[in-house]
Symmetry: C2
Subunit: 337 residues, 2 copies
DNA sequence: TTGTAAGCGTTATCAC
DNA sequence: GTGATAACGCTTACAA
């Protein structure tokens, strides 16, 4: 009774092999079974092209070997890279990745969660911005770059150390009057520690700095205005900028050059992320590089071992500085030069 | 009997509401049911936080509202953009996306297929390079950029017209001696039609052209050598190049400029894809832009309506030309200038 | 060892 | 219109 166009079931295999259902199950799952039985079953399974139905299996075992990845978008190199590494890492462990893109929309984030919960997935890895995200606690959950709740582990790069490192580098390379520029979501997240680390280092070193903090800004006007105020006759009275993303750093770089300010001669700029230019494979600017692959692996490993409840609430992975042409050290010219 | 830490089932809801299992099912699925019953059930469901178990449902209905997306990588802007749009489009139709990255590895492509088949997904959208990919016919399948088999629909940009368009533009803008450069997988795919269209147009117009076709090349040496042969004392004897990807175009552009050849003054270059630079949001070069969103929507729609067997075997979507600074027409300077 | 049968959470087919 | 009940494909006691 091989129904055409329908995948064969264990029953079909059992019938074909002339053994019982339970025996087939054991063979499929590698449990001890008589050698000749094993062979009969394997032959039958191959002949019929049998494939486990993991939904039926999951229904019994409550394990589906799939995890959801909730991420704003893939149209940004950092998110795309992260998603790529997470999917690859899950794959290596035989897990499937259920991808949800939310475009930074809090409602979409929440909806994604309930959608994937219907699928009885084994866990969720999410990069979200919804401050009142409702995550029920008995589903393994790992958040990236943001603390969602006390019981949910968070994985991020070491943003604080990254901010400090940026300040240190600027200062070491001769900058004396610094600017910090922050853009992005208005929801507080780990990412805000970039600024905190930067400011902390400046204070420790007694270096003057000014901060332009944009919460929920989609226009860069405030940054431009700030710079204009500090530039008289093409001469800026600052000489080092830390931008909290490479993207912002690119914009600032362009703006300054258009105004005749030389980078890195007059002003040094450091960004954050470590995005490589597609056209040249070079950094866009000197930057603090996030350890994307390590973050992906950490997120996956924390998620899949969450029964070990001895988890640290926050996994903060080491960053490194890389010269990219917008600072006065060794390093290739920036991509857009 | 509300078991702690475990999601409530229909049975729980039925008990809570004091109705039978079947009634709950009807309410959940919007089937006709007495008004007071409906209210009781809805109240109970909300109180318990009930969520459908779509695996159990799928087991019965053979419909899981999830499709697999098999794609080489997300670390390339074109693939990332495509994946983003496909996931978003599926989402809009209440489908989940199961993401598999294969890194161009034929074995991984095949393995992905069997992995996702275990999940009894509703269909597969795949961008693959494995020439002997084994896809069993009774699972809806849409291929992107490559004909997998006669029974499998293929979605792509109109590569042939794109190649023609590139030739036409170069010629219109004054180029007289053309070069075509092709790089990429050695598996024949729709993408090869870019060259065919280009050559066809050149022949029609009686314009001299030369082609450098690289199958399975990871080094660009052959391209560089070809150009060197055509350059004497910094003067090339060609004046227009069509590269089959923007990425290649970027490399060629850099190479020529390093050799003192002026682009677009001496030589015009047109690429293919329409990749935008992350730092500036500008095109890297003049290019044939793929209609990524339309391709995503087409792939999804074809997949989900595959019962209408009146499908064309090949959906070829219109491309457009966009100036990007490497041709002598209007348009912004290229990103890396 | 192998076979049998109950049950996972749904849907769907029945009588009522 | 509502409530039992069988069935979906599988795992897992338990009986043989």
């Amino acid at each position: 009774m091989r129904r055409d166009g329908v995948s064969p079931t264990m029953k079909d295999v059992a019938r074909q092999a002339g053994v019982s259902l339970g025996t087939v199950s054991k063979v499929i799952n590698g449990l001890p079974v008589g050698e000749e039985y094993r062979q009969k079953v394997e032959a039958a399974a191959k002949k019929l092209g049998y494939q486990v139905n993991s939904y039926a299996r999951g229904l019994k075992t409550n394990k589906t070997y799939s995890v959801a990845l909730i991420i704003p978008t893939l149209q940004h190199p950092f998110f795309a890279y992260l998603a790529d590494e997470i999917a690859a890492c899950l794959n290596r462990q035989q897990y499937r990745t259920m991808l949800m893109v939310t475009y930074f929309d809090p409602a979409a984030e929440q909806k994604s969660i309930s959608l994937v919960k219907m699928n009885k997935i084994d866990g969720i890895i999410a990069l979200t911005y919804n401050p009142e995200l409702d995550v029920d606690d008995n589903l393994p959950f790992v958040s990236i770059d943001r603390h969602v709740s006390a019981s949910i582990p968070c994985v991020s790069s070491d943003n604080y150390a990254g901010g400090q490192l940026a300040a240190r580098k600027l200062i070491e390379l001769g900058s004396k009057r610094l600017l910090f520029m922050r853009i992005g979501s208005d929801v507080y997240s780990e990412v805000d520690k970039r600024g905190a680390g930067f400011e902390n280092y400046c204070r420790m070193e007694n270096i003057a700095y000014e901060s332009v903090i944009l919460r929920n800004g989609d226009t860069l006007e405030p940054f431009y205005r700030c710079m204009d105020e500090h530039i008289t006759d093409g001469r800026p009275d600052f000489d080092g900028i830390f931008c909290n993303t490479d993207h912002l750093a690119c914009r600032v770089l362009t703006y300054l050059r258009e105004r005749g300010v030389r980078v890195p001669e007059d002003v040094q700029i450091i960004g954050y992320d470590g995005i490589l230019d597609f056209g040249t494979d070079r950094l866009y600017c000197s930057t603090i590089v996030q350890p994307v692959r390590q973050m992906a692996e950490a997120a996956v490993n924390v998620l899949l071992n969450q029964d070990l409840k001895s988890m640290p609430a926050h996994l903060s992975l080491p960053v490194r500085y890389a010269p990219g042409g917008t600072t006065r050290d060794e390093g290739p010219r920036p991509a857009n030069t």
